[in-house]
Amino acid sequence: MNNQDKIILYLDNLLDPREKEKFEEDLKNSPELRLKLESYKKVLENLKQMNIQSAGKSYFINNIPVFRERLEKKKKVWVQKKIIYASSSLVIVLLVLSLFLFRNAETISNNGKNLELTQDQIKSLTDSYANLEIDSALYNVADSVWNELLSDELNFSYETADSILHSFNGNVDYNEGLNDEEASLIYDRLITKEFF
């Protein structure tokens, strides 16, 4: 630490007691160091002299009304901003709400159509659904295809093929219209046939 640094710390009272004592000893023995210290003191003192803080009293007296005026303006602007934000938000909310309500109204009107059906119509629709008329048609097509396959590939009679198909549907006695010989033949052919 050079003397200049020590002077700054000494003036700021930041030297520890031992350093301070040593520095003060140096000061006694060095006129040059004393001059330097005085020079620093003078600079800081001059700066304090330049620190004008007593001027402009009228400015400070008038400042409060000026501030109040600005505050009122700011409050007005603030209120205006709030109104603008609130209106914008309201418009957005209304738009979203109207979209939502419009969609709901469509759904409700569709539901309304269903409600206009008579009880008989509703019963007829549910019966049709329960009977799966469309599926039955598909079953018929599938039956005929299987019949053809069984009669062509396994040389079954139409009746036998038909009874096998019925057994698939689970509502036919397996032995109905099928003698032991035929059953044995079916069994033999089925276990030796390569379908794929």
């Binding site: 600079v43 700066l47 304090k48 004008i52 402009g56 400070f60 409060i64």
Partner: protein, 182 residues
């Protein structure tokens, strides 16, 4: 430091709805705010802007004052922060050439100091202070002119005492170099 109890009373009164209490607070502290800002920025117009800004902040934030520090420290903290931010904003504007050095340091006829001698002194001080970095300047002003302790400055600025001592040390060193031949 100013009387805290009286300050707290004024704050409570203002928060309770007494607008005149704010006027009292502003009257009590506006000069301190102004002169700190003035020394930080070096001209009246900027100091005036900071003063208005700080008063507006006080007006809107006094309800959040927690009475943990003195009102003086709290106000000084706002003033110091606003001043540093103002200088940063100004430097950015200057960097992008939106404002030149001349126009930014204009004091002109709008200055509140009418006495020629005082004006000269303050101009000289401004010229010296603006040649040291803002953070060193801030510490130097608080330490040398306001005669605050490092602990008080630390409470205001939120910086460490060690850092503040270092800032002050470098500020004094630089100022001495600028003024030693005068």
């Amino acid at each position: 430091m100013p009387d805290s109890n009286n300050d707290f009373e004024m704050v409570r009164s203002f928060v309770a709805g007494d607008e005149s209490s704010f006027n009292k607070i502003a009257l009590k502290y506006q000069e301190k705010i102004y002169w700190h800002a003035r020394k930080m920025t070096g001209n009246h117009l900027d100091a005036d802007e900071i003063l208005q800004e700080v008063l507006l902040v006080l007006y809107s934030k006094l309800k959040d004052f927690r009475f943990k520090s003195s009102l003086y420290t709290w106000i000084y903290r706002i003033t110091a922060t606003r001043s540093i931010n103002f200088i940063k904003r100004k430097n950015i504007r200057r960097f992008f050439s939106l404002e030149d050095e001349e126009s930014s340091s204009l004091t002109g006829g709008s200055d509140i100091i009418k006495n020629i001698e005082d004006k000269e002194k303050l101009k000289k001080l401004d010229n010296i202070l603006r040649r040291i970095p803002a953070k060193q300047r801030e510490v130097f002003i608080m330490r040398n002119f306001e005669e605050l302790s490092y602990e008080e400055i630390s409470e205001i600025t939120g910086r460490s005492v060690g850092g503040l001592k270092s800032n002050y040390f470098h500020a004094v060193k630089k100022i001495y170099e600028l003024m030693k031949d005068e």
